[in-house]
């Protein structure tokens, strides 16, 4: 068999095999289940790396398809689309999955649902890996939904906890809202073009759609992206998704689930670029989400929520960059973000696991700074998030800002720079809060969550080191990666006007953000009050997430409880009940009337008999 096809099959199907094996056979043996899952995802990573190496040399895309279903002239294929974008994403997905699964050996040790956890992780890895290599939108949609299902399962993993099962449901339902739009867009494309093959859509087949229809289709598909990548206005599910185990958050926020939305936009960027209106909408939504989420992160005290908000804002940033034409920039930032965001969550997981709390101030009081490795890695990742050189985030952010600078409207660039400042500020606010000795002195560390055996600690430390290394070094891979992506993407990188001042401005703003955070939280005698909290109204607005959740609750209450439900109840009481009752009463009354003829009144029957015979005689004889 063709080695490339074999590698693609390995990279996508082995996690499914592990899922099946765990569910069917090894459910009762946690150790074996974890081994199976990790082995499978390691194999998948090997396959992905092989593909990357092969395609790196070839600099072309390879497609394997076979007919899936045919109906009339409509034919839908399935298979693999292996081009630089999909293979790069496949590598990122499998690598992060592998690291997170190794890390979970420590984090989830002793959990009663250990085997179930690894089964869901394998399902997740399979769904996301298959999503990346889908050649048609329909196949992509199938795995898109599977990603949604598996993240529902993992967010609500501790289902006995009420808030966790609620968060799982919220994530599922809110992303479903977007998915419905995506599916409608897909159907629109399918009915008007007769196919949903990504390469053909990108190659300009979508020009067959009329202008308005194209815009509508692009916006509908973007609806799916909004749901999946937790953009405004569907962004409230992501902070709640923190109810899942921390490694799940790491996976969810870096390479899978939310990344799927941005990946779809990158995948279909040539298609989207045929609809300039849609691109403007994407720019606006990305900007709004980025700024909203950044402000929410300014005041959050929950360490995981800060990173969750930063995910929303970074994804918004990627959408902005992609919509401004920065294909390479967006994909590169997706890649680097996957690395440092996974690192952020995994480091936070170490602290949470050891100290048993999510609250930053509590963590600091309980001596989080003594976990040298975790805090050091956290600082590296936060610096990458802030875009400080020479970390990976600096390179990708600079590319994104350059893409925005090339856009004729300067508003987007200004918003991007503001976002960079806020990002640096809230990332280092958290770091300084953790590091600075609290005002009341440090508590004697209460008994930690539970004492981890050294093997467990090693399993949790190794992924941190690997990811920190990636965060440190990935930035230098910018040029070759850009060339690689541009070779297969069919998109020539837009010759962005070179703005010499831009990197300096960006770094200057990031440093300013860090300095402000140091002034307010880091130095001795620091007030430890952020600038947003100085105005209580503003702080409250940010802490309540702009009251979006309240608004949705109100809207749901008005629309569903008082609107639709009330209407249905009225209809039931006023229309359906009387109709059914009337029907029943009418039947009974009619029966009573007719029953008279069945009572033994033989004279009446005889009369009827005579009359009938007489009538028959009349008709026969005359």
């Amino acid at each position: 068999m063709d080695p490339i096809l074999l590698a693609a099959l390995t990279a996508t199907l082995t996690p499914l095999a592990a899922f099946g094996a765990i569910v069917l056979a090894t459910r009762r043996r946690p150790g074996l289940s974890a081994g199976l899952a990790i082995g499978a995802v390691a194999l998948a990573l090997a396959g992905a790396l092989f593909l990357l190496a092969r395609l790196w040399g070839l600099e072309m895309s390879v497609t394997y398809t076979t007919r899936w279903m045919a109906s009339g002239s409509l034919e839908i294929v399935c298979g693999f689309l292996l081009d630089p974008l999909s293979v790069l994403m496949l590598t990122v997905v499998t690598a992060v999955c592998l690291l997170v699964q190794v890390y979970s050996l420590g984090y989830m040790a002793g959990d009663p649902g250990f085997a179930r956890y690894y089964a869901f992780m394998s399902l997740f890895a399979w769904a996301m890996a298959s999503l990346t290599v889908a050649p048609t939108l329909l196949q992509l949609y199938v795995f898109w939904e599977l990603v949604g299902v598996s993240s529902y399962l993992l967010i609500g993993f501790w289902y006995a906890k009420f808030s966790a099962s609620q968060a799982g449901k919220k994530a599922f339902v809110m992303t479903r809202l977007g998915d419905v739009a995506f599916f409608l867009g897909l159907l629109l494309v399918l009915t008007h073009l007769g196919h949903v093959e990504i390469t053909r859509l990108n190659a300009g087949a979508a020009a067959g759609l009329s202008g308005h229809r194209l815009t509508v289709a692009a916006l509908l598909i973007f609806g799916g992206i909004v749901g999946k990548s937790a953009q405004f206005p569907l962004l409230t599910w992501l902070p709640d998704a923190m109810e899942g185990p921390t490694p799940v958050s790491a996976l969810l926020h870096s390479a899978t689930m939310v990344a799927a939305g941005v990946y779809l936009l990158a995948r279909l960027l040539p298609f989207f670029s045929l609809a300039p209106t849609a691109l403007t909408v994407i720019l606006a939504v990305g900007t709004l989400s980025m700024l909203l989420a950044s402000t929410m992160a300014l005041v959050s005290r929950d360490i995981k929520q800060v990173w969750a908000f930063s995910t929303i804002s970074q994804l918004g940033f990627m959408l902005m960059g992609l919509a401004a034409g920065g294909y390479v920039a967006g994909v590169f930032h997706l890649t680097t973000h996957a690395g440092f965001k996974a690192l952020l969550f995994l480091c936070s997981g170490v602290l949470i696991h050891h100290h048993g709390t999510n609250d930053i101030v509590d963590l600091s009081r309980r001596g989080a700074r003594r976990q040298t490795l975790a805090v050091a890695c956290l600082a590296v990742a936060a610096a990458a998030l802030a875009g400080l050189p020479p970390l990976s985030g600096f390179f990708s952010k600079e590319l994104l800002l350059a893409a925005l600078a090339a856009h004729p409207n300067p508003v987007w660039l200004a918003a991007g720079l503001l976002g960079a400042f806020l990002t640096a500020y809230y990332a280092f606010r958290l770091i300084f809060l953790l590091l600075a000795p609290p005002a009341g002195g440090m508590e004697d560390a209460p008994a930690p969550h539970h004492d981890a055996p050294p093997g467990v600690r090693g399993a949790m430390a190794a992924p941190l080191v690997v990811l920190a290394g990636v965060t440190l070094l990935l930035g230098w891979a910018e040029k070759p990666l850009a060339r690689f992506l541009a070779a297969g993407g069919g998109l020539t990188p837009t010759a962005a006007g070179h703005h010499a001042w831009l990197p300096f401005t960006a770094v200057g703003l990031a440093v300013a953000g860090v300095a402000l955070a140091w002034w307010e939280f880091g130095r001795r005698q620091a007030p430890r009050v952020g600038f947003a909290e100085r105005w209580p109204a503003l702080g409250e607005l940010f802490a309540q997430r702009w009251y979006l959740d309240h608004l949705y609750r109100l809207a749901l209450g008005a629309l569903v409880d008082h609107g639709a439900a009330h209407l249905c109840a009225q209809g039931d009481r006023r229309v359906i009940d009387p109709t059914v009752d009337g029907l029943a009463a009418g039947t009974v009354a009619g029966g009573r009337r007719l029953a008279v003829w069945h009572a033994g009144r033989f004279q009446a029957r005889l009369l009827a008999l005579f009359l009938v015979v007489a009538a028959l005689a009349v008709t026969v004889f005359f």
Binding site: A599, G600, R601, F602, Q603, L606, L607, F610
Partner: protein
């Protein structure tokens, strides 16, 4: 035949209708039985008239049969009526609209 056949048939028809009205309209079981007898006899008159008209004996034979059947019917019918009257004390046909 002195009387025209048409008149015979007219008489038979009138008698039949009279019997019918008696059967349908009267509210007395005995009168209903009488009505049935009148209807049978109307048929018998028509048969006798026809037998004279075509000079054939079958009509008169059939009339004898009808007389026998009518006698049997009256005896059985009266027995039923007497029984019903004993059980309920009434002769109104509408009183017997239940099974059992």
């Amino acid at each position: 035949m002195i009387v025209p056949f048409g008149h015979v048939l007219l008489l038979a028809g009138l008698l039949f209708v009279l019997g019918m009205v008696c059967v349908v309209a009267r509210r007395n079981l005995i009168m209903i039985l009488l009505g049935v007898e009148i209807m049978l006899n109307a048929a018998a008159i028509a048969l006798v008239g026809a037998s004279l008209r075509w000079q054939a004996m079958e009509g008169q034979v059939l009339v004898l049969f009808i007389l026998a059947v009518a006698a049997a019917e009256v005896s059985v019918g009266l027995a039923l009526i007497v029984n019903a009257h004993r059980r309920s004390g009434r002769l109104d046909p509408n009183a017997f609209h239940r099974l059992g």
